[in-house]
């Protein structure tokens, strides 16, 4: 029998004939932590009395979750991480550098890589054909030291796509609808592998959004093949030499298969307090919103900001709405300025945050009060995530978010386009 993408990559990196269910030790091409998991990662590294990093140039500490630091405690954590970087020679991406997963996609991840990060959304790099997965601080500390880790080779669920997204419908709607259908544990321990002719119509920005949320169905990885779209993206990033084609074998064994017709998808929203609690945006008309947040590793890319700017051109935010936008990287911020999107959004009433995670996890830049509701383009709506446990988080696409900015209530973007 042929191999899935997960089996192929883990076979290559472990030197074994890796099959679903096997346990293998694989070389890791890139390991990283961010500023809320980094301090414990460093402490576990020190507790292990490891002398040095296995690969300093493939080890990164990112400052994005609470950067610039909002208080003394986190400032001191940042200081601790910078000290570790000086001592070990690992790379750092400091304040304003952007969201770790976006920077990994722009500059570091290659098709066929194994990537481990102390952040659950490390799965994002699966968009480029990398076996990328989140782990905790102990696991990542050991990868820092040894350059390898153990994996149970996951069974794969094939998601085959056909067709093209309709106007007003985005990749976010695809992944929300998928998670709504299979549930928040629908892919636990498994790989989601995307394929089919519909992939031709999904750009890397779309694939990053989809891979990013694979973990919200419990998946270990969300994998896309490396194809012409991947090559185009890597060329655009001036990393053409990092490209290699990569696809599952035609006769690979999948645990199950799900078909998605892109043209059949509708703008979709996840309601509080679970990502699989989904409904069509139109059904939620009338749901009043206090804050709209566009950004994060899920939807803080240029294409997302462009979509929002297109909808908001010449419009103003509803008087009740606080409108927060955080581009996911400096490259995105600069491109959005050049294209005039930032001007459009500021004229519509947006507050622009520096590249980083911003309001996503309740640490700064848009913390919610009790009773408030937020429509966010992020990936999680758990109780208490953005501040008060009595707040309500709805997840939607940048188009749905922009439409909601105008009306002050959850709005299907096709109703304002």
């Amino acid at each position: 029998m042929g191999k899935t993408l997960a089996e192929k990559i883990l076979s290559l990196k472990s030197g074994c004939d890796a099959r679903a269910g096997d346990i293998v030790i694989a070389r890791v091409d890139l390991a990283f932590a961010q500023d809320t998991t980094g301090p414990l990662t460093v402490r576990q590294f020190q507790a292990g009395k490891f002398k040095s990093l296995a690969n300093p140039s493939q080890t990164v500490l990112f400052f994005d979750h609470a950067a610039p630091s909002p208080n003394r405690e986190l400032a001191s954590d940042h200081q601790f991480m910078r000290q570790f970087a000086r001592e070990t020679g690992c790379l750092i991406s400091d304040v304003g550098g952007g969201v770790c997963h976006q920077l990994v996609a722009e500059s570091l991840a290659k098709p066929g890589d194994v990537i481990v990060g102390a952040d659950s959304h490390t799965v994002t790099a699966g968009a480029l054909g990398a076996f990328a997965t989140g782990m905790g601080s102990s696991d990542v500390a050991v990868v820092f030291a040894l350059g390898k880790t153990w994996f149970r080779v996951p069974e794969s669920i094939k998601i085959s796509t056909t067709g093209e997204l309709r106007q007003g419908v985005m990749a976010k709607d695809l992944v929300l609808q998928l998670i709504g259908a299979i549930g928040a544990d629908g892919a636990t321990y498994k790989a989601l592998e995307f394929g089919g002719e519909g992939l031709r119509n999904l750009k890397i920005s779309d694939r990053l959004t989809i891979a990013n949320m694979a973990v919200e169905a419990g998946a270990k990885v969300g994998l896309f093949p490396s194809d012409r779209v991947t090559r185009g993206y890597l060329n655009h990033q001036k990393r053409g030499e990092d490209y290699q084609p990569l696809a599952a074998d035609n006769n690979a064994g999948y645990e199950s298969e799900i078909h998605i017709e892109l043209a059949a998808l509708e703008p979709t929203v996840a309601k509080p307090h679970q990502v699989d609690n989904t409904a069509p945006a139109r059904e939620l008309k009338g749901t009043k919103i206090d804050q709209v947040f566009i950004g994060t590793c899920t939807n803080g890319r240029l294409e997302d900001i462009a979509t929002a700017a297109e909808i908001l051109k010449g419009k103003k935010r509803h008087p009740r709405i606080r409108f927060i936008v955080a581009p996911a990287s400096p490259q995105i911020l600069l491109d959005a300025i050049s294209a005039g999107y930032i001007r459009t959004l500021v004229e519509a009433g947006a507050a622009i945050m520096p590249p980083g995670c911003a309001a996503c996890l309740g640490l700064h830049q848009g913390v919610l009060a009790s009773g408030e509701a937020c429509l966010s383009t992020a990936n999680r709506n758990f109780k208490g995530r953005m501040g008060s446990p009595e707040a309500f988080i709805y997840l939607g696409s940048p188009a749905t978010a922009a439409a909601t900015v105008i009306t002050g209530e959850i709005t299907d973007p096709r109703d304002v386009m």
Binding site: Q44, G48, N71, E73, S137, V142, G218, L363
Partner: protein, 164 residues
């Protein structure tokens, strides 16, 4: 043999229920952080739990963030093991990496407050209150070894590498 009382929770207890992200500023001050364990699932939990007690979840326990502080504060609260119908993968690995046993079994019959006895080697749970006996699925060998050494860092210190 582990002995203690069951604290029963429902399905989909996330890492934000276990230790909310808003307390990230306390992550380098573990004794303070630990006071907020399970706060958004049961605000009184930290005051009620005793050394040796068990957290009993439903399906998909520990979904969400990769924060190892989630199993860490549970361990600091004195919890001797987590029992659940299923567990999210990052949380599962994190708990074992800290030497905190996670046992997959059908928890439907266990009620809040039941007195439990867990035989880790034998793979059984005895609910003294209901008289029910359960068995839990065996961990992969590498995880059993990590658990046996008290966690991943002591395991690597002992062997210097992974052993399959």
């Amino acid at each position: 043999m582990l002995k203690g009382k069951a604290f029963k929770f429902g399905d989909n207890i996330s890492t934000d229920h276990i230790i909310p992200g808003r307390y990230a500023y306390l992550r380098s001050n573990l004794p303070e952080l630990a006071k907020h364990v399970m706060e958004d699932a049961d605000p009184d939990f930290a005051g009620k739990v005793n050394k040796g007690d068990f957290i009993v979840g439903g399906s998909n326990f520990g979904l969400g963030s990769s924060r190892e502080h989630a199993p860490l504060v549970i361990k600091m609260a004195g919890v001797s093991a987590i029992l659940a119908k299923s567990v999210a993968r990052i949380f599962f690995r994190n708990a074992i990496n800290l030497g905190l046993p996670v046992l997959i079994c059908d928890t439907n019959g266990i009620c809040d407050g039941d007195e439990l006895e867990v035989d880790l080697a034998g793979g059984t749970v005895y609910d003294k209150t209901s008289g029910q006996k359960l068995s839990f699925s065996c961990l992969p060998e590498v995880m059993l070894d990590i658990l046996d050494k008290g966690g991943l860092v002591p395991y690597i210190q002992k062997y210097g590498d992974f052993r399959l």
